[in-house]
Symmetry: none
């Protein structure tokens, strides 16, 4: 079964709202092995919606739309569908009752606009929306299925989960398998070079994709085929080969983030972590507490932006700052030592650098970052050069630092 997704709404076209619905639907359907052949977005104009429906229904078996089912003037999807499929609108008592009940619950009365909402194209299969007034709609035509969901993300999600996915499964049971490696510390080409031979040997129905981000790359293996077990088997086989070769750079699988990977090790080892940050200004701490449950391993941080804060909060000796500068191996080491003295932590990291755009010098250009990491009795240091602009340098540095500490934990006893 081939599926196309059509998201409807002017707000999506002018970039006022980022379209998370299409991604969510794609991800969920992908999980059950349905192939998404394309996504489109159109504005709230009947002609454009019909044109897209025509185009998509020539390529896809099922067309899922979101948006335009509400009670206001710009919500035209239902009328367009009625017209497009040649199914007249019929007043649906049951729906009107549901809408009336919904508003009664809120202590309000349904309006004429809500009465209009109870008109439905003939032959529709309705999907009850327990979070709002617009039900989902499903139509079975000769050559295609059409499914229409509201645009409000949480309403769409629950309808998709409770109704659309079971419905699709009752019609089709397809085969596509993805597995994703998450890597840090190597660039996209570096990874591709390492597995070039494998990629050249890969059977036609398998493919590899590289998804780079700041200091990290996801490597995804996808397989399609006729037998689920066979595809799973094949993907697993190639995936394991790739994993073995890239092992040094792999920090996790599937949806795991770098800070989750670090957190999982810390939790398992029952260690507490903290950070001493200068140029990253708390961003590393923020990353570490992003996963839910970070209180299991995160203790706290001391962010020292000025010389004075470094000497006063982290007891970095003024001589060190004077002699080597704030961006130096000696300073980050002293910062981390200071953090260990102050905070009840087992491992930690410290960072000082020039995030830019100002502050660079010929021997310490913008992007020069020193990182110290490790445990009280085993502090390591590393200098990196971030090469982008301020915000990205901070994020890149954070990823590198978290990965260094993660690798330290894996090798340190």
């Amino acid at each position: 079964m081939k599926v196309a997704i059509l998201t409807i709404g002017d707000e999506l076209l002018i970039g006022q709202t980022i379209d998370t619905n299409a991604s969510h639907i794609a991800k969920e359907l992908n999980q059950i092995g349905v192939e998404i052949i394309g996504k489109q977005t159109v504005g709230d104009q009947a002609n454009n919606i019909k044109e897209s429906l025509t185009m998509l229904s020539s390529k896809a078996d099922l067309i899922i739309t979101t948006g335009g089912l509400g009670p206001t003037k710009d919500d035209i999807t239902k009328e367009v569908i009625s017209d497009y499929l040649g199914r007249p609108m019929i007043f649906n008592k049951e729906i009107f009752q549901l809408i009336s009940d919904f508003f009664e619950q809120l202590g309000r009365k349904p309006t004429e606009a809500h009465r209009q909402q109870a008109y439905m194209p003939a032959g529709v299969e309705l999907m009850h929306n327990k979070l709002g007034t617009a039900p989902g709609m499903w139509f079975t035509e000769e050559k295609n299925y059409f499914c229409h969901l509201p645009g409000v993300p949480y309403e769409m999600k629950i309808l998709l989960h409770d109704h659309v996915i079971p419905k699709i499964r009752s019609i089709y049971d397809p085969i596509i398998v993805h597995r994703t490696l998450r890597t840090a510390g190597a660039g996209e080409t570096q990874l591709a070079d390492l597995i070039r031979d494998i990629e050249n040997q890969l059977p036609e129905h398998l493919s590899i994709a590289y998804l780079p981000d700041l200091g990290t790359v996801r490597v995804r293996v996808t397989g399609r085929g006729a037998s689920k077990d066979q595809v799973l088997n094949e993907v697993d086989q190639w995936f394991d080969k790739i994993k073995n070769i890239l092992d040094h750079y792999v920090y996790g699988m599937e949806d795991e983030s770098l800070s989750e990977a670090l957190g999982n090790i810390l939790r398992k080892k029952e260690l507490k972590v903290g950070t001493a940050e200068s140029c990253t200004g708390g961003y590393i701490a923020h990353q570490i507490v992003t996963p839910a449950g970070a209180s299991d391993y995160y203790e706290g941080s001391i962010i020292t932006y000025s010389y004075e804060a470094k000497t006063k909060q982290l007891k970095v000796k003024p001589e060190i700052l004077l002699r080597y500068g704030a961006v130096s191996e000696e300073t980050v080491r002293a910062m981390l030592e200071g953090l260990f003295d102050k905070m009840d932590i087992d491992v930690g990291l410290s960072v000082s650098g020039i995030a830019g755009p100002g502050g660079g010098t010929p021997d310490k250009p913008v992007g020069t970052i020193w990182i110290a990491y490790g445990s009280r009795n085993n502090i390591k240091t590393k200098k990196i050069l971030a090469s982008k602009e301020r915000a990205l340098n901070i994020k890149f540095t954070s990823n590198v630092a978290i990965n260094l500490l993660r690798k330290f934990l894996l090798t340190d006893k």
Copy 2:
């Protein structure tokens, strides 16, 4: 000029990556008065890409694509375009030099894959990518323009800004004027209610858009017309009226962020700021140092996630934590007092709350956040309820806290 956006990549179709590129491009082009007629997403298959190009070029003047320009095997956009437009691939020495230089800077050597990257379709206008190795491409055909950008968001953004928008403007430059107010502390409907009369009186060729984010709303006035001076004049006039009414909530204009607004006041008053954070885990500090030059006013922060960190680092009395809990007015006040005692700052803020998903109780549900802010001798407190999920609650809290301190500075002598 009508523009269509085509985002390319299996990762977008399977929902592994949310497509922020299409929204960003739409938003930026909308600013310069270009109409977006549609967005599409296809996977990394030559046929699908070509089909979409054919379809879109029948409707749009300019087709912008993102993705598939990298050096790995799944990056096929360049070859597809070469084929689609009938322009053979030619080795480009200049590009190869640029790629080599880029890697030399990183202390690495270009590989065979990078050599392949230097082949370009004949007649291409290249757009230099200073953040990566894949340049943007522009083609002028008889009936359409084609523009191809890398899929890595930060590379795409800078190419769009530095090259694509100036290029479009050199071809098509409609008269469109935007002015944007930035507000915090009021919701979208609250603001709309305040300026309803104005909105009803607005001439046809002017419009108001509300762009809500977490705790902030941008209010944008847009005007179109035949004479630049006249439109500018009109927009200014209505903009000033709106600004007067919304004054209480306005923190800045155009691209100014909340932390820039705070920073500008601190710089002007020559004050130093610091934060004591629990549930936000350094995110507020990160926000404060995001603007370049934050060292003018940011001193440092103490992030205390655990009870122990709060008592040890910020000298919060254990009795306070025991009696009122970590999420309480008393605790955030004590945290801020502790920060003032430790750090050489004039103003500061502290936060403690339940970001979620766990940790809620009947009387302190997930999203309960206490904030303290002010100066050593004048500490204010406020309780808020963030109502979304963990990551959004942290960002919302950060915006509210920064805005509270900003308003404090405006009224405090």
